[in-house]
């Protein structure tokens, strides 16, 4: 049987359409995916992301361990509460998972939040690589998680929090977190909008969800989460990157900390080899100018020749156009075509993100 989050009965009560996702039974939408998408762009929406897995890493060697395990460098986290996005690579430079790591205490307390479908694999990987490091690795199955996103998200969430928590939450800079009484509030997210990701004891999550609902925050499902993150140009694990395709060909080179050169993170040698290769593919955005909908695995064409593949695509409600992320041969120009049901349809190559903070960033 699929796993259920502590909010499962709330989803049923709100008549969500539930679907299997990463081993969990999760809401796809609560009626209209597009209305939920628009709510996040224009007002505030919330997602049950309790299926994602928090993992606490502590101990004298926690920093050294994560500097070895992650392609980004946790030594950049100098203030408590600061967050960092990183890939965790295998030896061949492929992605075991992508995650956010937060610094929780000056003495090497870290919290990772990893993907639902990869959580077991991640834990096994972390355990298998801990030899020689004095660290404790703890899966926090006792925590639930709600993401509140949108231009009104922070203000509305603040009205739902105890006073002292609200004040410190509102003071958070982007990509920072604060903790209070077992609650962990981070100004991070996966939609291209401002907002919070709130981790809290699982037995409090239904109360928080209800209060947010009463405050006018719209429940949103995985469907809207996917179109929002696609518009925001954010990668999806298993689609845009994975064990066989690493950060350099997934638009994630910015998350790889090459300096200091002596930091020998797992996958570094493979990445350096690919970095120097003229064969290295580009990761681009596509805007469909012809009619249709871009989908994962469609072929990108130039003069009838296949030059790449869409990794994720769909209809972008904010743009009222179809967009995609694609991996293509290096050095393409602005125009290409995509093969949709056997026919070439015109598209333009653009630089993601497509939308950020409610604004359209590509020329339509």
């Amino acid at each position: 049987m699929a796993l259920r989050t502590p909010l499962h009965s709330e989803h049923v009560r709100l008549r969500a359409r539930l679907v299997p996702f990463g081993g969990w039974d999760m809401p796809l939408h609560y009626g209209s995916q597009i209305e939920e998408h628009d709510a996040v762009r224009q007002h505030a929406g919330m997602f049950d992301v309790s299926h994602m897995c928090p993992v606490d890493i502590e101990g004298p060697d926690a920093q050294a361990f994560l500097r070895r395990l992650l392609a980004n460098d946790v030594a950049k986290l100098k203030t408590v509460g600061k967050a960092l996005y990183s890939c965790m690579l295998n030896d061949s430079g492929g992605v075991v998972d992508d995650l956010i790591v937060y610094l929780r205490g000056p003495a090497g307390h870290y919290r990772l939040v990893v993907n639902a479908g990869t959580a077991d694999k991640d834990l096994t990987w972390l355990e298998s690589r801990r030899t020689g490091f004095d660290v404790e690795i703890r899966r926090r199955a006792d925590l639930a998680m709600i993401a509140v996103q949108g231009p009104q998200a922070r203000e509305l969430t603040a009205t739902c929090l105890p006073r002292e928590m609200a004040d410190s939450a509102l003071e958070l800079a982007p990509f920072h977190a604060t903790e209070c009484g077992g609650w962990f509030i981070a100004r991070t997210g996966y939609t291209g909008e401002d907002g919070f990701e709130i981790l809290l004891p699982a037995d409090h999550v239904v109360d928080l969800w209800s209060v947010l609902l009463d405050a006018g925050v719209r429940p949103c499902g995985l469907g809207a989460r996917d179109t929002l993150r696609l518009e925001a140009g954010m990668n999806l694990y298993g689609r845009d990157m994975g064990e066989d395709v690493g950060p350099l060909e997934s638009g994630l080179e910015w998350t790889v900390a090459w300096e200091p050169a002596e930091r020998d993170f797992i996958g570094r040698a493979a990445l350096e080899e690919l970095r120097a290769s003229p064969e290295r593919r580009d990761f681009v955005g596509l805007l469909l100018t012809g009619r249709g909908v871009l989908r994962a695995h469609q072929h990108v064409l130039l003069d009838g020749r296949e030059v790449g593949e869409i990794t994720s695509g769909g209809f972008a409600p904010t743009l009222q156009r179809s967009i995609a992320l694609a991996r293509v041969a290096p050095g393409l120009g602005e125009h290409c075509e995509v093969e949709i049901r056997g026919k070439p349809v015109a598209a333009r190559i653009v630089k993601p993100p497509f939308v950020r903070h409610g604004r359209i960033l590509v020329e339509l």
């Binding site: 359409r17 796809l28 939408h29 209209s32 995916q33 597009i34 469907g223 179109t227 009619r291 249709g292 909908v293 989908r295 769909g314 209809f315 409600p317 179809s322 049901r341």
Partner: protein, 130 residues
């Protein structure tokens, strides 16, 4: 429960068929189908004059989730695709049996309509799926 007009015929693949009484039929997808697909964002309708076989894929409805083939319920010749769906594909969501129709065709044999499901039989198909 979804809306199932009693005067229409249905297919196991969730199309509805209306006999227009003038030698043509109109085809669309059921209320149940549109609800299952979610927000519809693009529709590709068949070209006029195209000959189609029964159960042949001849139109495509794309929702935010995925593309779905629409099958011709019976053999015949396409006489019109619903051009209004180019600008308002969501008519299938809001009005599956009226504004959201997808194509009209002239059946080779009007008698083939008798072989399709009635509302009660289609309701059973839906019940068996869920």
């Amino acid at each position: 429960m979804s809306n199932l007009p009693a005067d229409l015929k249905y297919t196991k693949t969730h199309e509805w068929v209306r006999d227009n009484g003038d030698g043509t039929v109109t085809v669309g997808i059921t209320d149940h189908a549109q609800e299952a697909l979610g927000d519809i964002v693009f529709v590709e309708v068949p070209e006029n004059g195209r000959a189609v076989a029964a159960e042949e894929a001849c139109a495509v409805v794309e929702s935010v989730k995925a593309a779905s083939d629409i099958y011709s319920p019976i053999a015949g010749e396409i006489v019109e695709g619903n051009a209004a769906l180019a600008d308002s594909p969501d008519a299938i969501n809001t009005s599956p049996y009226a504004d959201g129709w997808i194509f009209r065709l002239t059946p080779n044999d009007m008698g083939a309509l008798a072989g399709l499901l009635d509302a009660a039989a289609y309701e059973q198909v839906v019940a068996d799926e869920s």
